[in-house]
Amino acid sequence: MAAYDEQEYTKSFQLGVWKRLIPLLGNYRRDFALMLIFNLACAAVDVALPLFQRYAIATFIEGDTLRGLLPYALCYLVVILFQALSVVAFSRNAMYIEMSLGRDLRRDLFHHLQTLSLSFYNVTPVGYLIARVMSDTNRIASMISWNLADLLWALFYVLGTFGAMLVLNWRLALVILLIVPAIALLTGYFQGRILHWNRKVRKLNSKITGAFNEGITGAKTAKTLVIEEQSTENFRKITGEMHDSGVRAARLSAVYIPLVLFCSSLAVAIVLLRGGTMVTEQVLEIATLSAFATYAVGVFEPIQSIAANLSEFISLQASIERVTGLLDQRPQVVDTPEVEAKYGDAFHPKKENWEPLEGEIEFRDVTFRYPDGGEDVLSHFNLHIPAGTTVAIVGETGAGKSTLVNLACRFFEPTSGQILIDGRDYRERSQLWLHSNIGYVLQNPHLFSGTVRENIRYGRLEASDEEVEAAARAVSADTVVAKLEKGWDSDVGEGGDRLSTGEKQLISFARAVLADPRIFVLDEATSSIDTQTEQLIQDAIDHLLQDRTSFLIAHRLSTIRKADMILVVRDGQIVERGTHLELLKRKGYYHDLYSRQFAEEHAAKVLG
């Protein structure tokens, strides 16, 4: 919940960044052309409307006749209807462009993210990705539709108005034009400052949210330390800062907006004075004077909005950079073109060329270092795992137990050396081929929103309902289903949060069983699960291990003892390997670890 501080981009305008958008916009060339036309139409009508008033004054009032009023009114009506239609067309067009661009950007980003390596995900917070996939794309899309349309309209309107004024009376028009530089100067001065303070207010806003989060999650601690007063005082400081910045930002626009309005009034005054003089000199009609007054009132707001729009556009550059930055990330594990040609890629597999996988794995002279790490965690490591072997990896939390699994599953590739599966370097076959043969159950099992059935079927999409249910029964996941109101079709909630950890685990086992993988990875849970579920899970694991090559990142003694081979990890290195008995006899680190863990685990059992 706490705010993820985004990097600030304060770079000036760079054309290169904007060019990246061109291919995306190219698909909507026709719609952008329509946008141009609709806004031109809207602006044209807006410029024309004061002319109707001028006509009424010049023809009927000055001419003192009502003849022709009906055709005039009808003509007026037609223009209004045309205007309403343009508004319909323009807003539909803008909405269409916004939503289509946003959809395309999100789709491209999502697609790209599916190809990036896990090493990227390891160092990138999910909030950071969501901000790019959702917020930045929304911002880009809405700016390039609505703001662009506004900008076009304002531009056409301002040009049209000055054009009309010039045609009506160029001398009076020129005098009014004198005010435009004043507006430009004003805007130049205020716009940047207003933007700065608004940004500050937004930042403080997320700071306040963060402070609430901290105050709520830390309430118990604040109570036991009796520092409620103090923490409230700290919070007051933040809201005080917010108060001051908010007023500050408001004060700036409180000066700026009246100044812009004042420019309009100045223009009206000029019209009255110069125009009035011209009327007395009989070179200007009163009807035109009234049209000028209307134009003078209306034209300066759009000028200001053009300026505001432009500075918003410049700040959009940051969003574009964030999105393209993500698109420029290259995956670290890639299939060679030859492999891709034969086996297909992650989205278009050529399953007809896939060989079956037996499950024999060999690490041959493997040296490995994490892309962001400074030290080799494996050097010249050799290990042969015959098909069907159960390998347990033990060690303390944070010792680096996942490294071997990451390598075997090709989430990372060795820095040097080879990993062979069924006797062939695994880089000679596609990632999807390997991944489709792996079952993976995480410590904190991850489920997706949807029903229990859908979640289990994730293991094999084409499985029938019967197969899904059979897989669930094999690992007793049907006991979970029995407790749910809607049975198999019960919604598990976002991330599966309507189920307990134990229940989620059973579902994820069922998912793995359904996939029927040759290689099975279990990152065992340490969290306390009630004894009954615990027994179910143990049985499920036994069922899963049969005839498969499996890696167990294990915490429970019972699981470890069953392994054919135990690898002991300490500080990222594999320090011992062997069977349970061999390792105990050696009286090394494993022996240490085992006695400690055994003692605590057993004590916990006695205490119930």
Binding site: M99, F212, K223, F235, S290
Partner: protein, 613 residues
């Protein structure tokens, strides 16, 4: 969380009035300025009217009401250039006055609304800090935050934007309509006819659309959830090779989201266009009718121009009013949601609660406690002599943490649930803050604030000298680790700083507790994430430090407990046994059993164990 909670209207009003307190002047000032600026704004068309009619035209100049006797305008025709200068000057002066008022309006409004919202936020925060622990456990953080941020924003918008806007618009309508009626009652009728149509149609339409907005917002939420689940579950996706399936799923949600909005856009376009149509029609109707009036001599040309000007100014605000009014209904729900928090009772003390020093024995006297209907403690009695070290051995769910929660009055015992006394005084008679200040507590999963390590350790005594902090950290065996960080004690904890390991967190929390210099110290399994060696080192240092204090240790490591003066064995909420270490190992029971397991494992047995499976 209960969402059906509803405030009576009166209380809602009271709530708003309470927070407006101190800011009312700003709001009054803002409204006054707003009204004045509208009055000034209304003058420009009059100036134009007089100029057109009496300077450029042939009409007799007429000023409204009292002004007529004061200013003589009969010279206007004779010196038109001077008259034009004066007219232009008047427009500029009116514009300056209006500008000043607009400035006053905006600044006052921002001061008022920032002050208003600050008071709500501060009050909420303070109140939440004081709500009892049971309330906090019963409500989810996300939901409370939602209420403190989004709902507060809705209320602010209601009071500071919508209410002000309504008052402003109503004033505008009254002012402009009365001017228009005074100029031409007949023509005003034409304009008047449109006002309810424009306002109503806008309100009704808007209400209809807002339901669809909700559906579209939900669709966006689904896209976000889908992406979020994909990113957090990326290992599962990859391990099953489900990239394509994921992409299709995302695509479907993504498309639905944009389709819904495009469809909504079609409705909105009708809404906007109908607005344009109605306002343009209103303007047109007035122009056509005004033309007839003027040609037929019931109105002057200047009057016509001014009237059209007033009418145009009126058109859009009326439309906005309809939307604002229909939007305002949302605020009631938000007020209920915020009021729900503010209405929850704060932790309080009885009227007879007093300050006292904790200097006697701590006695649990037939304590029975249930939480949400589940019995946690049953008839638990024991005494902790002043200045002794007391240990509790118990498994998960044995009720050991509840003992501590009760002692610290995070929960209070009810009638008939027994009592807890310190030095003979029932702790319910001791002020909470006084009690808690004298009980130092380290929890198993301690919470550190997102501040520097220094601020965290010095939480209870912000002005303590550096040496004292470092001494506390040294006792907790964490000084060395802290000085190794690039920023040392100035290192930020949490998301924006370093991530401390579980063991480091526990040790910083111990240092923080030591700074409290409490006569009673409680360690609730607080060295579980520290390895055995460091555990022993810390305990030795603590023993030297804690002379004279009453110490309560909770653990399931025998080595941690064995040196205590007295050990309580808690089993499923009941006292299973109590005594010194030597007494307890001498008799069969849980303690002896665990002691056997933890202390006497010899390698031979281990090998046997291993060989059997």
């Amino acid at each position: 969380m209960e969402t059906q909670f509803k405030f009576p209207k009166r209380e809602k009003l009271d709530m708003i009035v309470r927070y407006l307190h101190g800011n009312l002047g700003f709001f009054a000032g803002a409204l006054l300025c707003a009204c004045l600026s509208m009055v000034f704004n209304a003058m420009t068309p009059q100036i134009i009217k007089i100029t057109v009619d009496s300077v450029l035209g042939e009409e007799e100049a007429q000023l409204p009401g009292v002004l007529e006797g004061l200013i003589d305008l009969s010279w206007l025709k004779s010196d038109p250039i001077r008259a034009l200068w004066i007219a232009a000057g008047a427009v500029v002066i009116v514009a300056i006055l209006r500008g000043v008022c607009t400035y006053g309006q905006r600044v006052n409004l921002s001061k008022g609304s920032e002050g208003f919202v600050k008071q709500i936020r501060d009050d909420l925060y303070r109140h939440i800090q004081r709500l009892d622990f049971a309330w906090h456990t019963a409500h989810s953080t996300g939901d409370i935050i939602q209420r403190c941020t989004s709902d507060v924003d809705v209320i602010r918008n209601f009071v500071c934007t919508q209410l002000v806007e309504v008052v402003r618009t109503v004033f505008l309508i009254v002012l402009y309509l009365s001017i228009m009626i005074s100029m031409s009652p007949r023509l005003s009728l034409v304009s008047l006819v449109f006002i309810p149509i424009v306002g109503l149609s806008s309100g009704v339409f808007y209400r209809k659309i807002s339901r669809r907005f909700q559906a579209a917002d939900e669709a966006e939420g689904e896209v976000t959830t889908c992406a979020q689940e994909n990113f957090t579950g990326v290992r599962v996706v990859r391990a099953f090779g489900r990239e394509r399936f994921e992409e299709e799923r995302f695509e479907e949600k993504n498309n639905r989201f944009s389709q819904l909005w495009i469809r909504l856009g079609k409705l909105m376009s009708v809404y906007w266009a109908s607005g344009t149509l109605l306002t343009c029609l209103q303007v047109m109707a007035v122009i056509v009718a005004g033309t007839i009036e003027t040609v037929e001599g019931r109105m002057t040309l200047g009057g016509f121009i001014a009237f059209v000007g007033y009418n145009e100014t009126l058109a859009w605000p009326v439309r906005a009013l309809g939307r604002v009014l229909s939007d305002m209904s949302k605020a009631g729900v938000s007020m209920d949601r915020v009021g729900y928090i503010l209405k929850a009772p704060e932790e309080g003390d009885g009227p007879d609660a007093e300050e006292m020093e904790l200097a006697g024995d701590i006695v649990f006297d037939h304590v029975t406690f249930a939480y949400e209907g589940q019995p946690v403690l049953e008839d638990v009695s024991f005494t902790i002599p002043h200045g002794s070290t007391f240990a509790v051995l118990g498994g998960t769910g044995s009720g050991k943490s509840t003992l501590i929660h009760l002692l610290d009055r995070l929960y209070d015992l009810g009638e008939g649930q027994g009592r807890i006394t310190i030095g003979g005084t029932d702790i319910r008679k001791i002020r909470r803050d006084c009690l808690r200040r004298q009980i130092g507590l380290v929890l198993q999963e301690p919470f550190l604030f997102s501040q520097t390590i220094r601020e965290n350790i010095a939480a209870t005594c912000p002005h303590a000298p550096e040496e004292e902090l470092r001494h506390a950290a040294a006792v907790a065996c964490v000084d060395e680790a802290i000085t190794e960080f690039p920023d040392g004690y100035g290192t930020m904890v949490g998301e924006r700083g370093v991530t401390l390991s579980g063991g480091q967190k526990q040790r910083v929390a111990i240092a923080r507790m030591l700074m409290q210099k409490a006569p009673v110290m409680v360690f609730d399994d607080s060295l579980s994430a520290v390895d055995a060696e460091t555990d022993a080192k810390i305990r030795a240092a603590l023993r030297r430090q804690m002379k004279g204090a009453t110490v309560i240790l909770i653990s399931h490591r025998i080595t941690t407990l064995m040196q205590a003066d007295r050990i309580l064995v808690l089993d499923r909420g009941r006292v299973a046994d109590m005594g010194t270490h030597s007494e307890l190992i001498a008799r069969p029971g849980i303690y002896q059993e665990i002691y056997e397991i933890q202390m006497s494992i010899d390698d031979r047995r281990l090998v046997e164990e291993g060989g059997r499976s």
